[in-house]
Subunit: 416 residues, 2 copies
C-alpha cells in the first residue's frame, strides 16, 4: 500500500509553524505495512491544493492530509476534495446537531461559518473528533482512500490513534515493518559497523547504523505478516547485537540518556547532585525532565560566577593553581556538589560556551567530572567546535554518559 | 517569480533527520520577491525524483533542491535533472582537478565514485562549495531555473548566501516582501486585534496577528520594488503600533525573551540569581543561552528536594505554614536567591511538574516570584494544563516576563 502525506496551510509552507504532524505520521506508517513515497506542503490555495490532492490520489493508494478543516474561508481541504472527486457537499444534520451541542456546552452560539464543518459528500464518512470542532473525513472511491484530519496536533494524533490507524489495521493484508533501535555510546560508527558485520548480511531483518547526537544507533528492521512474527525475527538478532556490543548499549527505542540514568539511580538507591558552570543548569534541567526524578535528584548549583564556586566548596587553591577552566576544577565542583548537597554522586561541569575564549582556553573547551562515594573521580575533557547551545547540549550528553558509567560501576560492585 | 522547494533524501522523508533546509529557504524567499508555492520531500528514488523535479519545473519558474548530491548510488539529484532535461553528463576536468585537490589536502586519494560530483551538463554551471565535496548545480534552460544544493545545512546555507541569493537578486525585476514582527506579552490575541484595528485596514503593508508561546505577535509585511522602499512603508505603521501597544511590546524579529531581559539587565547594571524547583534549572539554562550572560547572571540554585530550600534560606516556617507549592514559598525562594547569591534581583519558581500531584495541588500548578532590591516582590500563579516539559517551559516564560516587568520598573525609577 503506497501513501503520501500532505500538510496543508500557508503558515506551514512558509515555515512559520513547524510541521510536526508529517513527521509523526511518517513514523507510524511502517508498522502498518504502508510505504511512504512522498511528503508535501501546500498553502491555502484552491487551485494548487486540488491539483496536489488529485495527483497524489492518482499515484498512491492512500492520501493522508492534515490541516485546512477549520471554519474560515482559508480552510479549503474539504472544497478541494469535492473538486477532485466532482462531488457536491451537503450539510449532515446529525453532525450539525453534534457541533451545535459542542458550542452550547461551552456557552456560545455556533457561528454560522462553522456549518461547513458539518459537510459530507457521498464518498465520505465523518471521523469523530472529540477534541475540536472539525470532524475528519474518510473518503473512499475507486479503491483509493483520502483521509483528512485537522491540523492541531492534539486533535490529529488522537484521531489517528483511535480512528484512522485501527481502520487501516483492519484493512491490512500485506506485511508490517517493525523496527527496534539499540542505542550505544563510546564507540564510533565505523567500529560498530565492524563489530556487527556478521549480522549485516541478513536481509530480513535488515540492519542500519546511524550516528546520532547521543551515540551510534543500530536499527534492526523486520518485515513479516504480523507484528508478532516481525518481533520474532528481530529477537535473536537483537540478542546477538547486545552480546557483541556489551555495555556500550545503553538503551533502546524511546529511551533517553536521562531516563536510563534515572532508572539506574533509582534501582541503586543512589542520589545525584550537580554543580554547573558553562551549561548553566541544563544538566539539572535535563535530569529533571524524567518523571519521578525527585526520588534520586537532590538538586543543583549553577555557579556561573567564579566566587560562587569557591563559596560552594571549590578550594580557592584549585582555582588559583589550575584556573576555572580545568579538569581539576571540574573534579572539585563534582566533589563539592556531592558533599554540599549530601548526595552519593556529584557531577561538575566547567568550560567555555563562548562567544569569547576564557583563561586562554578556546570556545568549546569542556571539562566534565563525576565523583561518587563508591569509586575514584572520573574526568573527561573535550573541545567541541560548535555554537553556544550545541556546546551546552554536548557537555550534558558527556555528563550523562559519565554518570551512566559510574552507575554501571556501582552495579558491578554490588554484584561482586 | 514562482518557486518550489524540494528536499531530497529517504531519511528526511521518513522523519529520521529533521529538514531544517526547507524552512531556512522558505524564510529567505520573500525578501527576494519570490513566491513560494510548494514544498515537498521525496526519497532517494530515481523515478519519483525525476517525476517530481519535472512537474515542479513545469509549473514554477525556479525549483530549489537540497540533498542527493553525495557520491553514493543513493544520491540521484544530478541523474534526475539529466533525465528531466534529456541531457548527458560529462566529467568537467576543472572540477575534477579541484575535487582531487580537496582530497589531497586532507591526505586522501579521491575515491573514484566521487567522480560524479564533477559532472556537468550543457545547461548547467557548477556552484562553488568550499565546505564540502559536492558543487551545486545552477541549471537554466527555456526560461526555467533549477538550483541543486548539497544537503548538509552548513554547506547549503553558505552556498545560498554567497552564491545563489546574490544571483537571484541580480536577476530580480519585481518587488520584494519585507516583514517586521513585533512581539508582545500580557495581552490576548483578541485584545491586540482590537487595539490595532485602525491599522488593519491598510493593504500594503498588511498586518497579521499570531498567538505564540511567548505572547502575541504582530507581523507587518510590505511589498515594494526595493528593500529600502519596503522598510519605508513599514516604519510609520510600526511606530503607530508601538505607540498603541506601549510597553506590551518586548521585542522584534529575532529577539528572544531571554536576550531582551539580558540586554535590560546589562544596561541597568543589575545582577540576577535564581532558585528553581519544578523547572529544575531550565530558567538558569535559558538565561545563559544568551552570549555574555556572565555579566549579569550570578548563578542559580536547583532546590529539588525540600530540605535544600530550607538549607538555602527559605524559612522553615514558610514551608510549614504554606507548603512548598505556594506563592509564599516562591517569594521566599526569590528572596533567598537574591540574598544568598548577592544579586540585585532574585527569581523563585516552585510548582508541580507531574506526573503526580503534590501537597494536594494539581499537576501544572506553578508559582513564580521576583524579588528585586528596588521594588516590592511580585508573584504570579498559574495552573498549566500540559505535560511535564511544557509546564517547565511555560513557567520559565512567565519568569522571564516577570523579570522584564521588574527591570522596566527599575528603568522607570531611574528616569524619575
Amino acid at each position: 500500500m503506497k501513501a503520501e502525506i500532505l500538510s496543508i496551510g500557508t503558515e506551514i509552507l512558509l515555515g512559520e509553524i513547524v510541521d510536526t504532524n508529517a513527521q509523526y505520521l511518517a513514523s507510524r506508517l511502517p508498522a502498518l505495512g504502508i510505504d511512504l513515497y512522498f511528503k508535501a506542503v501546500v498553502g491555502d490555495n484552491m487551485e494548487r491544493l486540488t491539483e496536489t490532492i488529485g495527483r497524489a490520489r492518482e499515484r498512491s493508494d492512500i492520501v493522508i492530509c492534515t490541516g485546512g478543516l477549520g471554519p474560515t474561508e482559508d480552510d479549503l481541504t474539504r472544497e478541494a476534495i469535492c473538486a477532485v472527486l466532482g462531488e457536491e457537499p451537503l450539510v449532515d444534520h446529525e453532525l450539525e446537531a453534534t457541533l451545535r451541542g459542542f458550542f452550547v456546552r461551552r456557552g456560545y452560539a455556533m457561528p454560522e461559518r462553522n456549518v461547513k464543518q458539518c459537510w459530507l459528500i457521498p464518498s465520505c464518512r465523518a471521523i469523530p473528533n472529540p477534541r475540536g470542532t472539525a470532524p475528519g473525513w474518510w473518503v473512499e472511491r475507486d479503491g483509493k482512500i483520502i483521509v483528512a484530519m485537522p491540523g492541531p496536533p492534539s486533535e490529529m494524533t488522537r484521531m489517528w490513534e483511535n480512528e484512522v490507524a485501527p481502520e487501516l489495521v483492519r484493512r491490512h493484508a500485506g506485511s508490517v515493518l517493525i523496527t527496534r533501535t539499540l542505542k550505544t555510546t563510546g564507540i564510533g560508527e565505523g567500529n560498530v559497523d565492524e563489530m556487527v558485520s556478521p549480522l549485516l548480511k541478513t536481509r530480513n531483518p535488515s540492519i542500519g547504523i546511524y550516528a546520532r547526537a547521543d551515540g551510534v544507533q543500530l536499527r534492526i528492521a523486520a518485515k513479516a505478516p504480523t507484528e508478532a512474527q516481525a518481533r520474532d525475527l528481530i529477537a535473536p538478532v537483537e540478542d546477538e547485537a547486545r552480546r557483541i556490543l556489551g555495555p556500550a548499549v545503553w538503551g533502546a527505542d524511546e529511551d533517553t540518556f536521562e531516563s536510563v540514568v534515572g532508572d539506574m539511580a533509582r534501582v541503586a538507591g543512589v542520589t545525584i547532585a550537580t554543580m554547573e558552570s558553562c551549561t548553566g543548569g541544563l544538566l539539572a534541567s535535563t535530569l529533571t525532565d524524567v518523571p519521578g526524578a525527585s526520588v534520586y535528584f537532590r538538586g543543583g548549583l549553577v555557579s556561573y560566577q567564579t566566587e560562587l564556586k569557591v563559596g560552594w566548596g571549590v578550594p580557592a587553591s584549585v582555582v588559583e593553581e589550575f584556573g576555572v577552566i580545568s579538569p581539576e576544577c571540574a573534579r572539585a565542583m563534582a566533589q563539592a556538589a556531592r558533599e554540599r548537597l549530601e548526595a552519593s554522586v556529584g557531577v561538575g561541569i566547567t568550560g567555555v560556551a563562548g562567544p569569547d575564549e576564557q583563561e586562554g582556553k578556546p570556545v568549546g573547551t569542556v571539562h566534565v567530572a563525576v565523583d561518587a562515594i563508591w569509586a575514584a573521580p572520573q574526568v573527561m575533557s573535550y573541545v567541541f567546535p560548535s555554537g553556544r547551545t550545541a556546546i551546552k547540549r554536548r557537555a550534558v550528553t558527556v555528563a550523562l554518559g559519565l554518570l551512566r558509567q559510574s552507575l554501571l560501576g556501582h552495579r558491578n560492585e554490588a554484584l561482586v
